[in-house]
C-alpha cells in the first residue's frame, strides 16, 4: 500500500480537486492519497466528490486553518 502526499497549500478551489483526480489516476487500488490544503472549501468539495464517486475519504483538520484529506483508491 503506497501513501502519497499532495501539497496543495495556497492553491485556491478547485485546483486541488483537479490535481487530486489526476494523481488518483496514477495510483493503484488500495493506495492512499493525502491532500494538504489550507482552504476550508477544498476539503468540503473533495469529500463531496469522493463520496459521489464511492472513494473512501476522511477530512482531518490537523491545525487551525490546515486540512488533510485522505482518499483511498477503491
Amino acid at each position: 500500500m503506497e501513501v502519497r502526499d499532495l501539497d496543495c497549500l495556497y492553491e485556491p478551489c478547485p485546483i486541488p480537486l483537479i490535481k487530486a483526480i489526476k494523481e488518483l489516476k496514477t495510483l493503484n487500488s488500495g493506495d492512499i492519497l493525502v491532500v494538504h490544503s489550507d482552504q476550508s472549501c477544498v476539503g468540503a468539495v473533495i469529500v463531496e466528490w469522493a463520496e459521489q464517486n464511492n472513494y473512501p475519504v476522511k477530512l482531518v483538520e490537523t491545525n487551525v486553518g490546515e486540512w488533510e484529506v485522505y482518499i483511498q483508491k477503491p
Binding site: 485556491p12 478551489c13 478547485p14 492512499i32 489550507d38 476550508s40 473512501p56 476522511k58 490537523t62 491545525n63
Partner: protein
C-alpha cells in the same frame, strides 16, 4: 465512508488524540467587541449604516459556515457533475421571488411604475447582460470566488483573495471608464421589460416559480444520473 486503512494512517500520523490546536476564542472575543463598538458608532451617526454593518456580518458568517459559494454553484455541475449548490441557489431564487412579489405588490398598490424607485433591480436587459455575465464567469472561476466569496475568504484569513480584490477595483474602474462605450452601442438600445406592466403580477410569479421548479427538477435529475442524492441531513436517498 471511511476505510480502516485510512483510520490507521490518520492515527499513525496525528497521534491518538487530536493535535493540540491553539484556541482562537480570545481573538473572536476581541473582534466581537470591536464589531460591537463600530456598530454603536454607526448607530449614533446613521441607523441605516448600522443595519448594513450587522446584516453584512451576519451574511458573511452564513456564507462561511454553510460554505456557500456562488462560483462553486455554477462550476461544480460542469467540473464534478454535482448540482447540490446549484439547487440551493435555485431554492434561494424561489424564496426571493415570493419575497419580492410581496414587496413589489405593496409598492405597486400605492405608487405608479417608475423603474428607478421600484424595490429590486429593474434594468434594461440585452446583449450586454450576456457579455457581462460571460466575462464575469471567466474571472470568477479563475479567481476561485465571486465578490461575496472573496470578501468571505478575506475575513477567514486568506491572503490570496486580497489580490483578487485588487483585481476587482481595477476591473470596476476600467468598467466605469468604458461605460459610455457600452451605453452608446448596446444599453441605450435595450429595453426595460417589467412584467407587471403587461400582465398580472400573480401570473408572473406563478410562471417564474414554475420555471425555477423545472430547473430544480432538471438539476436533481442531472445529479441522480451522475451519482447520488442526499436529504438535508446527509442521508442517501438515491444511489
Amino acid at each position: 465512508m471511511v476505510s480502516n486503512e485510512i483510520d490507521a494512517l490518520v492515527r499513525k500520523r496525528c497521534g491518538p488524540e487530536k493535535v493540540n490546536k491553539k484556541s482562537q476564542i480570545s481573538y473572536a472575543v476581541i473582534i466581537l467587541i470591536i464589531a460591537s463598538i463600530i456598530s454603536v458608532i454607526l448607530w449614533i451617526n446613521n441607523h441605516v449604516y448600522a443595519a448594513f454593518w450587522i446584516i453584512g456580518i451576519a451574511l458573511g458568517m452564513v456564507l462561511r459556515y454553510s460554505r456557500f459559494c456562488f462560483a462553486s454553484a455554477f462550476r461544480d455541475p460542469f467540473l464534478i457533475k454535482n448540482t447540490k449548490l446549484m439547487r440551493a441557489l435555485l431554492l434561494s431564487f424561489m424564496v426571493s421571488t415570493i419575497g419580492f412579489a410581496v414587496i413589489q405588490n405593496v409598492y405597486l398598490n400605492h405608487n405608479a411604475i417608475d423603474y428607478a424607485l421600484i424595490p429590486g433591480a429593474v434594468f434594461p436587459v440585452g446583449l450586454h447582460t450576456a457579455i457581462g455575465a460571460f466575462i464575469f464567469g471567466i474571472g470568477m472561476t479563475n479567481a476561485g470566488g465571486c465578490a461575496s466569496g472573496v470578501l468571505m475568504r478575506i475575513g477567514e484569513g486568506h491572503v490570496l483573495p486580497w489580490i483578487t480584490l485588487l483585481g476587482f477595483f481595477i476591473g470596476t474602474t476600467l468598467g466605469a471608464k468604458d461605460y459610455s462605450f457600452w451605453y452608446d452601442k448596446i444599453i441605450s438600445k435595450a429595453n426595460v421589460f417589467y412584467f407587471p406592466e403587461h400582465i398580472n403580477l400573480g401570473v408572473v410569479v406563478m410562471v417564474q416559480m414554475a420555471v425555477l421548479i423545472g430547473l430544480y427538477k432538471l438539476a436533481a435529475w442531472y445529479q441522480k444520473k451522475n451519482g447520488r442524492i442526499e436529504d438535508y441531513e446527509g442521508r442517501i436517498l438515491w444511489r
